[in-house]
Symmetry: none
C-alpha cells in the first residue's frame, strides 16, 4: 500500500454507521432491510456491495479492533487496550510514552477483600469529587499521573514517564469475596517490573486517600495499555485525513491512526455539515455515527431503522459533494435481536464511477449477492484507494 | 481462540457427511441437489449457508487434512502421515513416541528388483497369516514393533521407542523393475538416522522371514509419520468433545484432536441414537457418516443421494435435542462424476438462533448464494463457537 499509494485531488468518504449489521427481526427483515431508504437503495443500485468481516469467523469485535480494521490495520496485530480506549473515550490526548489503565472505584471490607467491584454504583458527581481528590493528593516518583473520570464508578488513570510498559496483569480479581491482586509484570522485563511497582504504589496511595470514603474506599486497575505503534495513516495512504465523530472514543481511534479531528456540528446533520465545510481541505473523511449501535445495544430495531433513515435523508447532500469513492458501512454488527456486538458480516456499499452493480437495495441479503462477496474489513481501505484512483499499478 | 473461548452449557453438533460435495450429474443436479431432503431444506431456509474450502484452490484433500481443517487446525501446518492414518484406520492407539509406516507386501525377483508392488494382490486371509509370522519373528534392538494388517496386500508397521523421527524417505520405488530404495533420513538428524537404520533392518528381517512366501516375499515401506502435535481440542475450545463415527480412521482423527470416542450404534440411525444417549455428557459432538463418500467413490450418484436422504430423515430427531449450533457439511467433495475426492467447495449449513438465511434449500447452488460466501473450512469451528455464544468479545 505504502509503495503503490499516490496523492491526488480525489476525495474519499468512509461513512461508518456504528453497529450497522443486523439479523432478521420478527418481520423477517434486518434493521437495514426494514428501514425506508430510497436514497441508499438508489445508490446501492449503482454501487459495489459486499459483507465485510471485522476480525475472524465467529469473533465479535470491540470498537477498537472494529475501527482498526476499517482503517486498514490488522486488528489481530495491533491491539488497543481497555485503558487506552478509556483514555481516548474521555478525550485524553494519549502520548507515545503514556501508560493507561481503566480504574473502577470499589469497596474493600475490613479483611481486605473486595465486597463490591463498583462501589455500590456510586453516583457520577460523588465519584467525580473523589477523582479530584486523587489528582490533588496522589504523587508517584518519576512519573506524572492523571486520573480522569468517565461515569459513575469508572475512571481512567494515565501514567506519563519514560520506560513504561503495558505488559501488566490486572489488580481486579473479577469476583467479590477475593482480595485485590498485585499488579504484576507479564513478561519479566525491567520496564514492566517498574510499571507494576508504580501501579501498586498508585493503588496503595489511593487506598489511603480514599480510606474514609466508603463504599468507594479502594480502586481496581485493569486493561493496562499504551499507544499502539500504528503506521501513520498519512504515510501509508498519502492522504490528508480528517475525522468527524461525536464520541471521544472514535475521535481518539482516528487520532491513533494519525487523522486530524474536526470540530463536529450537532447531531448527525451537524456532522454532515462539518463534512461539507471542510470538503476542500482534506482528501479523506472518516464520518462516524454512533446512534445505530446504541439502538442495537438497546434491542430496539425500530429506533435503529430510524437512525438509518435519518442518514438516508442526508445522502443526497453527501453525493452533491461528489466524492470519488464513498463507502457506507459499519465497524461491526449490533443486531437488535442480540443487544450486543456480534461476529456477523457487515453490509458494505462502495460508490464510485467504477462499480459493478448487482442489486436494487442496500441490505444484508443484497450485500450477500454483491460483487465484493464476503471479505475482511481490513481490505476496505484498499478498495477505497483503488476506486479513487489513488493506487499505482502493481508490477509492469 | 484459546484466549476468547469460554466454557458454557450450550451444545454444538458438527455433522460430517464424508464426501458430501458434488458436481452436476446427467440431470444437471448434484447428488445433494437431487436428493429429496425436506428436512434439510426447511433447516436451510433458517440457516447460514456457504461453501467451505478444505485446503487450497484446486487441491483435493485426503481424509486427514479434510478433518483437521474441520476441527479448526491448519491442514498445511499439521500433517498426518499416511502411516499415521493407516494406524488410526486399524484402530491402533498411537502413542506420542510411535513411528508408523504403511507396509505393502510385494514381489521381488531374483535380481532384487520389484516385479509386483502388491504381491499379486494377495488375498486378505493369506496376508493376515504373513502379518502374524512377522509379529512372531521380527525383533529390533531397542524398539517394540507392531505389524497390523489392513486388507489384502496392505498393513501398517508401528515402531515404539524413544528418539524416533519421521523425517524418512520411502523404500517403495513406486515403479516395477526397480530395486527397493534404502530408507534414508531427510534431515540428517541423529534421530532420523537411527530411525532409517531401524526401518532398513525391519525390511531386511522381513525379507528373510518372507523368503519362501512368493509372491509376498518382501515388504515396501512408505509414508512414515508420527503423532502430530495438535493443540488439544479441549484446551483450545474449552469443550468436552465427543466423536461418533463408524470407521476407525475417523475415530483416530478425532482422538488426535483430543476428543473422546463414543461406542457407536449400528448404521447411521445408530450413530444418531448414540448422540441422543450422550447428549447430557458433552458440549461438542463430531458425528461422522462415511457412506456418502463411498457412494461418490463408486460413481453412484443415486446411492449417494439415498444416503443423504437417510440423514434427512434423522434431522428432526437431531433438532429435537435443540443444539445451540449445528453444522451439516462434509470434509471434502467426492463428486460421483469424478469417483474420487476433489477440490470443490463443500456445502455448509449452520443452524442457530443467530443466522441470516438466504435460500430455500440445501444444495451447492444455494450455498454459493449463502451469507457465509466461500470460506476456508478451518473457520468452521470459529463460526460454531460464535453461534453457540462460546466466544468472548475481542478487544474493548
Amino acid at each position: 500500500m505504502r509503495e503503490l499509494s499516490v496523492s491526488t485531488d480525489s476525495k474519499i468518504v468512509l461513512l461508518v454507521l456504528d453497529g450497522l449489521g443486523g439479523l432478521p427481526n420478527e418481520d423477517g427483515r434486518t434493521e437495514l432491510e426494514a428501514a425506508n431508504t430510497p436514497n441508499l437503495d438508489a445508490l446501492a443500485s449503482r454501487s459495489d456491495l459486499g459483507l465485510s468481516r471485522p476480525v475472524a469467523a465467529g469473533v465479535s469485535p470491540g470498537s477498537g479492533p472494529g475501527h482498526l480494521a476499517l482503517f486498514g490495520y490488522d486488528p489481530l496485530k495491533y491491539e488497543v487496550g481497555r485503558g487506552v480506549l478509556s483514555a481516548l473515550g474521555v478525550g485524553f490526548e494519549l502520548g507515545e510514552n503514556d501508560l493507561a489503565a481503566r480504574v473502577n472505584f470499589a469497596t474493600k471490607d475490613d479483611s481486605g477483600r473486595i465486597s463490591d467491584r463498583r462501589a455500590g454504583r456510586i453516583a457520577t458527581d460523588r465519584a467525580a469529587k473523589l477523582v479530584d481528590l486523587l489528582n490533588q493528593n496522589l504523587r508517584l516518583d518519576g512519573v506524572e499521573v492523571f486520573v480522569v473520570h468517565e461515569k459513575e464508578y469508572r475512571a481512567v488513570a494515565i501514567f506519563r514517564g519514560t520506560g513504561l510498559s503495558d505488559a501488566l496483569s490486572d489488580s481486579d480479581p473479577q469476583r467479590v469475596g477475593l482480595a485485590p491482586l498485585p499488579v504484576q509484570s507479564t513478561n519479566g522485563g525491567i520496564e514492566a517490573e517498574k510499571s507494576a511497582e508504580l501501579a501498586n504504589t498508585f493503588i496503595e496511595e489511593a487506598d489511603s486517600i480514599l480510606a474514609d470514603y466508603h463504599p468507594a474506599n479502594t480502586v481496581l486497575l485493569r486493561g493496562f495499555g499504551m499507544h499502539p505503534a500504528l503506521p501513520d495513516f498519512d504515510e501509508v495512504y498519502k492522504l490528508r485525513a480528517a475525522a468527524i465523530a461525536s464520541y471521544p472514543m472514535y475521535k481518539g481511534l482516528a487520532r491513533l491512526a494519525g487523522m486530524e479531528i474536526l470540530e463536529e456540528g450537532e447531531g448527525i446533520a451537524g456532522e454532515f455539515e462539518t463534512l461539507k465545510e471542510n470538503w476542500g481541505s482534506y482528501d479523506f473523511f472518516f464520518v462516524h455515527v454512533k446512534a445505530a449501535d446504541a439502538a442495537g445495544e438497546d434491542g430496539d430495531p425500530v429506533r435503529k431503522a430510524t437512525v438509518i433513515e435519518e442518514i438516508d435523508d442526508l445522502i443526497p447532500d453527501l453525493l452533491d459533494l461528489d466524492p470519488a469513492a464513498l463507502a457506507v458501512t459499519g465497524d461491526h454488527a449490533t443486531p437488535a435481536k442480540m443487544k450486543s456486538h456480534s461476529w456477523h458480516g457487515v453490509p458494505f456499499l462502495l460508490s464510485s464511477e467504477y462499480t459493478l452493480p448487482s442489486a436494487e437495495s442496500f441490505g444484508e441479503r443484497a450485500c450477500i449477492a454483491g460483487s465484493l462477496g464476503t471479505f475482511p474489513a481490513q481490505e476496505i481501505m484498499g478498495f477505497l484507494m483503488g476506486h479513487a484512483l489513488k493506487l499505482n499499478r502493481y508490477g509492469a
